[in-house]
């Protein structure tokens, strides 16, 4: 299908997203948090979902792995605004990459995606393995990890 007419969409306004809860972890600032949840699947933390969203957790007990879509609140304002950054693997080389080609937490949107393993669900609290988030990070969404959706076809 080809659109008959596509309007220009300059200056789309910011969107507003309401956090559904927050994580409780042992890391009080980004510098001490592990870089990737999947590299720290041995550690456990929890996600407190506000009571008013708790009904949305029904069925989650059947999801072994979930995405936490987060807002990386503790990144520094000046760093988050940078469009070029030094990715982890290039530290010391002086080479900078466009932020959208990296998984750096310093990014304009401040949006994070942490893939974690569900350990236990206790009412509105999800205990999980896989910790890369600073204590108090707002969680905007939870989605089940699904191989058919989250791995490229023939990938």
């Amino acid at each position: 299908m080809v659109p008959e007419q596509t309007t220009s969409r300059d200056d789309l306004p910011p969107v507003q997203v309401q956090p559904i809860g927050y994580v409780v972890t042992g890391y009080d600032r980004p510098e001490v948090a592990p870089p990737q949840a999947t590299e720290n699947f041995g550690e456990r933390a929890s996600l407190v979902v506000y009571e008013r969203y708790a009904d949305g957790l029904s069925g989650l007990e059947n999801c072994p792995h979930i995405w936490l879509v987060t807002w990386l609140h503790s990144q520094r304002e000046d760093e988050a605004a940078e469009l070029r950054c030094v990715p982890r693997g290039l530290t010391g080389t002086g080479e900078r990459r466009g932020v959208f080609s990296t998984r750096s937490p310093n990014r304009p949107s401040r949006l994070g995606m942490s893939l974690v393993r569900v350990a236990e669900i206790d009412g509105n609290v999800i205990h999980f393995y896989g910790v890369d988030l600073v204590d108090g990070t707002p969680v905007l969404d939870i989605k089940p990890w699904v191989r058919g959706t989250d791995v490229p076809p023939r990938g």
Copy 2:
């Protein structure tokens, strides 16, 4: 690590996220859009990134697959607010699941994650394969797909 003290974080305020661009597709409403990008890898569409973010695309030519983190603007307000929904596989059964255990586009955050394949990058326009988005959907972030980050360990 265990936090010494974790403050309660009731009523976290909404976060604001600035779109970095928008997609151009042939679908003018959710009802006609394919349900998953990975199920429609044969179709091509494009993402227009605002010029002021274009420098952040450097290096993306080395990323075969990318995530588009989107704001699903065309979902109906009443449906997006629902905490229970009928997932695709259960249509007709009357069974409803908690929205956080599904990939339904109707969700409180309205946040979407589309995994797509980069076809070509032409300045600030990314042509990609894998289309499940309605024309004009705001894109909030682009992240490279990385097996080590996006597939559970021993998954």
